[in-house]
């Protein structure tokens, strides 16, 4: 959405575009699960087998776990990191949820293997908005605007049953495009906001976007690198796991949280060194991907 707005401004069709996201979850008891299944799968060859979002991600996770020998403990550490950030963010659903450890994740109810309850994001209603405008107007309206440095997008898959690796995603393409357009590399990024519908997905994204070598993301998270004070803070607002999954607006939650970091307006979660920040969102079961890089200098 931000890139569409930026294109409209670049081509002179607008001066400022307000991008708004608003989302809502339909409860399972009200047919939410079936709705998700029909939205994401083939009605004849996938839906009848009892698919919906968590088990489809479970299939994806089983591939990543088998390929890289990741353990449930290592995956759970992603949720622990997200909670550490949520405790700092007064707007997060889990701000008062208390600290959690790997043991709490593993002892929470099994939803669908390999995910326990705390490996899954929090269905929430919510929204957010960002104003995209010309640099000169941005400088007038904000002491520190967030400049758009790079952008990439890729749509490579439409069904889980399509052939090919589920964990070699369009993020490889959209990430490479974003870095190329910003003339930056993963080493130049200070903070990353990575869409975390389930604890497995930041691990996939850390590797697909080039922050970690294949097979090393789990160890990276395990080392505390993504925690407050870490080498690459990830999901500084608590992520979908602990801030909340605001349905269709969860990409916008991630964008607003990222922009606020760059603008030095992130309150207690502020990372001072957030000069350049990458945010990555995806849709479907990691089918559609968009990467955006923001910075304090144009």
């Amino acid at each position: 959405m931000v890139n569409r707005a930026a294109s409209a401004i670049r081509t002179g069709r607008a001066n400022a575009v307000l991008c708004i996201g608003a989302g809502k979850f339909t409860k399972l008891s009200k047919g939410g699960g079936e709705m998700m299944a029909r939205f994401l799968g083939d009605p004849s060859l996938e839906v009848p087998y009892g698919i919906w979002i968590p088990p489809l991600y479970g299939l994806l996770a089983s591939e990543f776990i088998a390929d890289h020998g990741v353990s449930a403990v290592e995956m759970a550490r992603v949720a622990v990191s997200a909670r550490k950030w949520a405790l700092l963010n007064p707007s997060a659903r889990m701000h008062h949820g208390g600290a959690i450890g790997v043991g709490d994740v593993l002892s929470s109810r099994m939803v669908t293997s390999p995910f326990h309850d705390l490996d899954c994001s929090l269905p929430s209603d919510g929204g957010g908005a960002v104003l995209v405008t010309r640099a000169e107007l941005g400088r007038k309206w904000a002491p520190q605007p967030a400049y758009i440095l790079g952008y990439g997008e890729a749509h490579l898959r439409g069904r889980v049953s399509d052939p090919g690796k589920l964990t070699e995603t369009g993020a490889k393409v959209s990430g490479a495009e974003a870095f190329r357009s910003a003339s930056l590399t993963p080493k130049d990024i200070d903070v990353a906001q990575l869409y975390d519908a389930f604890s497995i997905t930041p691990l996939v994204l850390l590797e697909n976007l080039g922050f970690c070598e294949p097979g090393s993301a789990a160890r990276f998270v395990q080392s505390g690198a993504t925690d407050p004070g870490g080498q690459l803070p990830v999901n500084t607002y608590g992520g979908l796991l602990s801030f909340g999954h605001t349905g269709d607006a969860s990409g916008m939650s991630l964008v607003t949280a990222g922009a606020l970091q760059v603008m030095r307006c992130a309150g207690p979660t502020q990372v001072d060194s957030a000069e350049r920040l990458l945010m990555h969102g995806y849709g479907g079961i990691m089918y559609d991907h968009a990467t955006l890089i923001l910075g304090r200098e144009p």
């Binding site: 399972l28 299944a37 799968g41 004849s44 991600y57 293997s113």
Partner: protein, 171 residues
């Protein structure tokens, strides 16, 4: 209690479900480039040919991805159940349930197809394909009985009876 979702029979996938009614798993095959695929589509995803045929799959494969589901999309599904991606011996990926003890499922688990009643759809019952764990088929049999030319699924089952035939529905 809601009903399980019943496959939607369309003009394009009708031949697939006709195969299920006859107890066989059918695949889309492109005679031009020899690609095989499961999704009913009007063109070949590999070479875009519009001249597509159907062939009978041998009905054997292995689980490549799985999730043991404890929370179902609706109460029509009895939990836990195994959702899996199966790589058929023809190289085609198929979404399925695996009829086995959820504790036993693993990547690489050999499976064979079974046809089950998927629900009632006017004017007749719809049958669909899922897989069950292969228990007694020795790996060497795969070499002695290659998939091509395809054997009837029923022949495979009759020749190598397994313990867990419960749930297999012959047409």
């Amino acid at each position: 209690m809601t009903d399980k979702p019943v496959p939607e029979i369309t003009e394009m996938n009708g031949i697939y479900f006709e195969g299920c009614a006859k107890g066989e798993l059918r695949l889309r095959r492109c005679p031009t480039c020899d690609a095989r695929f499961r999704f009913a589509s009007e063109w070949c995803p590999q070479c875009w040919s519009l001249e597509l045929g159907w062939e009978k799959a041998c009905g054997l494969g292995k689980a490549t991805h799985y999730s043991v589901v404890h929370m179902a999309p609706s109460d029509a599904f009895e939990t836990p159940y195994v959702l899996a991606l199966i790589e058929l011996d023809e190289g085609v990926r198929m979404m399925s349930n695996v009829k086995c003890d959820p504790e036993e499922v693993r990547i690489g688990l050999p499976v064979k197809v079974m046809i089950r009643k998927a629900g009632r759809c006017f004017p007749a019952d719809v049958r669909t394909a899922e897989v069950t764990r292969l228990t007694r088929l020795h790996p060497s049999l795969f070499q002695r009985h290659p998939c091509r030319p395809p054997q009837s699924v029923l022949d495979v089952i009759r020749a190598y009876p397994t313990r867990d035939r419960v749930g297999f529905v012959a047409s």
